[in-house]
Every structure is written in structure tokens, then in C-alpha cells.
């Protein structure tokens, strides 16, 4: 079976979708599912290369639309059609229907003379107010709609009125050896945030929560891993609150270093404001046995069981994030208990083998239904 997977971005970019698709590719190969990736090229990467054994085609989806010249998206559409023609996949699997490839996939499916099975996995949460007819059409057309959380699935189903097969498939995380954590210092409490430095991630809320914790007399620091357009704003906020020496901006770190930083945290904060269908950071923190405090938004409450593996608080409320963190700082045994339960739960929920099996069953089921529809008997 050959699956053409469409992702908004792919390695070396390293977000939840990229990690998932890369993690699935190898176990898929072992069960005779060949993955081909088509993704946006971000303007500077090779048009074609093999990444970790997976062929990756990169097309200028977004740049062609941004150009304003009709010939550019037409040329990219032809490239995509050419890839489908040459790869001849059994099905298309689009991760995140709101990616810049949506228009191209819509055109491809409208024009295609052969019946292509089509699956969408929604990773983010769609808002009813989104004016995205092309996304709505794609979701409705999908032979199967899956999502990484119930919140993401419900939002996509309501957004599109999709009435076909729907399923939640939690992201599987490839097992890895936990790195040695940073050495602990008596009385020092480490808060950690990981992700893109942008407004939606809410790292300003974490900085304000740190200010509250320190005002309570706690020796707390905040380490922020990642880069992005808001770094200067966040640095300015930290300075303004007198926290310049307590907020550490680490920029982009490799996986091992990021995991080492998370493993040494007293608490990992995920203060996102919107559109999170799933949090890879919260899942990895759980696997490291570190409790998380997350916003009650999108799929985040499904990642953390409130009061059991961490805390779920109101979004954009620094005082609530601070209160939860302070509770953990003042009761070390509570943090250890929550972290231990988080690790056990995450080991089951984000099991890669289970994830592989679910997708394999889904692919087989969709293809079997298509074969029945085409009058093919096996």
C-alpha cells in the first residue's frame, strides 16, 4: 500500500505533525505501507529528498498563492498532479486541512479522473467563525475524518457536517531513552515552556505567572525553549516585570537538550490561547514524569487529567497558572505523584504501536470500502 501524506511542513521543521509522520513511517514500512510526503518547501529546502528513509516532495504551496500571479499556483498544481501520477498512491492522507495545500488538494480531487481515497487528520481546532469554504469542502469530501483529540474531531465534524467515518487517533510518540535531567538545586523551582514564540502560545502568561510566584517569595525561574517573532516582546516583558535574570530564553534546542530541560523542570506550562488540538510538549512532559499546567482550551484538557496528572486552568489567566505552579512548588510530593501518574497514562495513551495499528486499520478499511464501491472483490 502506498500513502501520499500531505503535511503543512516537514523535517527539519519539528512540530507535532512532523514528529508524528516521521515516527509512523518506519513501523508502516514494516507492515508494507510506503509513505510519500508532500509538503511546503518554506522556500529554501530541496524539492525532493529522502528523509529518514521517506521520500519527501516539497512544493511552493503558500509562496505561489502569495505571489498573486495565477501562473504560479497553476504550475504548483501541475507539479502536485505529476507527483500523484508518478507515485500512484492508493490513498491521500492530509494532515491538517487548514494547510496551504488545501486549495491544491481541492483542485486535484475535483479534476482527478481516478477515484482517490482521501483521509484527513485534523490536528488543530477549527472555529465556527472560520471562513474556510475550501477546508469545509475537503473535510466533507474525506472518506474518513480523524483527529488527534476529541476537541479537534468535534470541531472539524461540526465545521464541515462530515457524515462519514470519524475517529480519534491519539498521536503516538516514538519511545526514547529519558535523558539525565538538570541537577536540582535546593529551593529552586523550574518552570519550562517549549514552542514557537508567538502570541497564541501564551508565553507572556507564563512570564506573568513567574512574577506572581516570585512575589510569593519562591525562588523560581522560567526557561523558554524555541524561537519566533515574539522573542523581543517577551524579553521586554520579562525586563519590565524585573525578571530579566529569572527568565532564560534558550532559543532552538535539539531534541535531547529540550527533553533534558523538560525532565529537570518542576512544572511544564502550556499556556496556549487557542487552536491547540494536541500538545506534543505536554505529552513529552508527561512521558518525562513532569506535571503540566495547561490552558482549558481545545484538546489540552485531554492531554492532562486535571488534578491527576497535572492541572488544567483558565486560559490567559496568569494568576491561575501561578497558583497551580505554586501548589506544586510547595508540595514536592504532589508534583512527584502527578508526574508519576502522568508518565503511566502517557505511556498508554501515546503508545506508538497502538497509533500505527489504528492508522493501518483505518487505511485498510477505507480502501476496502472504496474497492467495494468500485465493484472489486478480493
Amino acid at each position: 500500500m502506498k500513502v501520499l501524506v500531505l503535511t503543512p511542513q516537514y523535517l527539519p521543521s519539528w512540530g507535532g505533525i512532523e514528529v508524528l509522520v516521521d515516527s509512523l513511517a518506519e513501523p508502516f514500512r514494516k507492515c508494507s505501507i510506503d509513505t510519500r510526503v508532500v509538503t511546503d518547501d518554506a522556500g529554501r529546502l530541496a524539492e525532493y529528498e529522502i528523509v529518514n528513509g521517506t521520500p519527501v516532495h516539497r512544493l511552493s504551496f503558500a509562496a505561489a498563492v502569495r505571489s498573486g500571479f495565477p501562473g504560479k499556483p497553476l504550475a504548483v498544481l501541475q507539479q502536485l498532479a505529476g507527483i500523484v501520477e508518478s507515485e500512484h498512491p492508493d490513498l491521500l492522507h492530509m494532515h491538517c486541512a487548514t494547510g496551504s495545500s488545501a486549495w491544491y488538494v481541492d483542485r486535484l480531487l475535483r479534476k482527478s479522473t481516478r477515484s482517490l481515497s482521501f483521509i484527513v487528520t485534523q490536528h488543530g481546532v477549527l472555529e465556527p467563525s472560520d471562513r474556510l469554504k475550501v477546508v469545509r469542502d475537503l473535510l466533507r469530501r474525506a472518506d474518513a475524518l480523524t483527529a488527534v483529540s476529541d476537541a479537534a474531531l468535534q470541531s472539524a465534524a461540526q465545521f464541515s457536517n462530515h457524515d462519514g467515518r470519524q475517529e480519534i487517533i491519539a498521536n503516538g510518540i516514538r519511545p526514547y531513552q529519558q535523558p539525565a535531567s538538570l541537577p536540582g538545586l535546593p529551593g529552586l523551582h523550574r518552570m519550562v515552556c517549549v514552542g514557537r514564540l508567538e502570541h497564541e502560545k501564551g508565553f507572556d502568561i507564563a512570564i506573568r505567572a513567574l512574577a506572581v510566584a516570585r512575589a510569593e517569595g519562591l525562588d523560581a525561574t522560567l526557561t523558554i525553549v524555541g524561537c519566533g517573532e515574539d522573542r523581543r516582546k517577551l524579553e521586554a516583558l520579562a525586563s519590565e516585570l524585573g525578571l530579566a535574570g529569572s527568565v532564560h530564553f534558550r532559543g532552538a534546542c535539539d531534541n535531547e537538550e529540550t527533553r533534558r530541560i523538560m525532565a529537570g523542570a518542576s512544572v511544564v506550562l502550556v499556556p496556549s490561547r487557542t487552536r491547540e488540538g494536541f500538545s506534543l510538549v505536554a505529552a513529552e512532559a508527561a512521558l518525562a514524569g513532569v506535571p503540566c499546567v495547561v490552558s482549558r482550551i481545545g484538546g489540552l484538557p485531554e492531554t492532562v487529567a486535571d488534578g491527576v496528572t497535572g492541572f488544567v486552568v483558565s486560559p490567559a489567566q496568569p494568576a491561575e497558572f501561578a497558583a497551580a505552579a505554586i501548589r506544586l512548588f510547595r508540595h514536592a510530593s504532589l508534583g512527584a505523584d502527578l508526574g508519576s501518574r502522568a508518565r503511566a497514562r502517557a505511556g498508554l495513551k501515546y503508545n506508538l504501536d497502538t497509533c500505527v495499528e489504528h492508522y493501518q486499520q483505518l487505511y485498510l478499511s477505507v480502501l476496502a470500502r472504496a474497492a467495494r464501491g468500485a465493484g472489486v472483490t478480493s
Partner: protein, 144 residues
């Protein structure tokens, strides 16, 4: 009656059997393939509805009245969308209408799909800010 296209407001191009028209004022995209692309190609050359239908009836396996009706519906939709304007009555008729050679000769009512959300889509695209070290975690070199 032939039709005019505002060069400052409308940008369009055909590649193979697909045409894209962009309304540069509203940002809306219109895409059509096959017969829709052919209708557009003829209108751009200055054809009237009758002239386009006559040419298409020669190229496709359809009868003239049906094709003419379908072309009229398509042109009306394009006028309504502000893509086409009616040209001056004095505009010179086209000398010879041409169409690219395409594979399918089966007549289907031409229709353009409208996409008014292209910019919303681009803005929502969760493309990450990737620098040389990746985002937010650089992939170990050993894995590349």
C-alpha cells in the same frame, strides 16, 4: 456582444486544461478546467457567447443550443462575479478563435469554482518559522 477584462483588476492564466483567474481587488480566486478553461480562452480572445458556442460546438461532441445555453450561464456567472464586463459594442470581432488541443472532447457544462478564502487559509497555515537550526527543536544531524 463581446466581453472585456480589466487588466488592473483581473489577472488570469491558463496552463494545460486549467485556468485561474484572480480578482486582485477582492483576492478571490476562480478556477476552472476543461470546458470552463476553453470558454475563458475564447472570451479573452473577444468572442461573444454565440461565437464561443459555435467554436465549442465544432470542438466538442455537443449540440449548439445546449452548448450556447451552458456558455451563457457561465458568462452570466462571470459577469455577476465582476470578472467580466460587457465590452463596447464597437469592439472589433475576433478574426480567428483558437483553442489549445486537449484530450477530452466530451462536453460538460463549464463552471468556475470560487475561492474567497485563500488569504485566510494562508494566514492559518501552521507553517513554522524555520531557521537553520529548525524549530523548535533542531533535528539531530545524524537523523538527516
Amino acid at each position: 456582444m463581446s466581453y472585456a477584462i480589466h487588466a488592473r483588476r483581473i489577472s488570469h492564466e491558463r496552463l494545460g486544461d486549467e485556468v485561474i483567474i484572480i480578482n486582485l481587488v477582492t483576492g478571490a480566486y476562480y478556477a476552472g478546467s476543461g470546458t470552463a478553461a476553453d470558454v475563458w480562452t475564447l472570451l479573452v480572445q473577444g468572442a461573444s457567447i454565440d461565437q464561443a458556442a459555435e467554436k465549442l460546438a465544432l470542438e466538442y461532441s455537443g449540440n449548439f443550443p445546449t452548448i450556447r445555453d451552458d456558455v451563457e450561464v457561465c458568462v452570466t456567472a462571470l459577469l455577476k462575479a465582476g470578472i467580466l464586463d460587457q465590452a463596447d459594442a464597437a469592439a472589433a470581432p475576433p478574426s480567428a478563435l483558437e483553442l489549445p488541443i486537449i484530450a477530452s472532447r466530451e462536453w460538460k457544462p463549464p463552471a468556475f469554482d470560487e475561492y474567497t478564502d485563500m488569504w485566510d487559509l494562508i494566514q492559518l497555515d501552521p507553517i513554522h518559522d524555520v531557521d537553520d537550526t529548525g524549530w523548535p527543536h533542531a533535528l539531530p544531524k545524524s537523523k538527516l
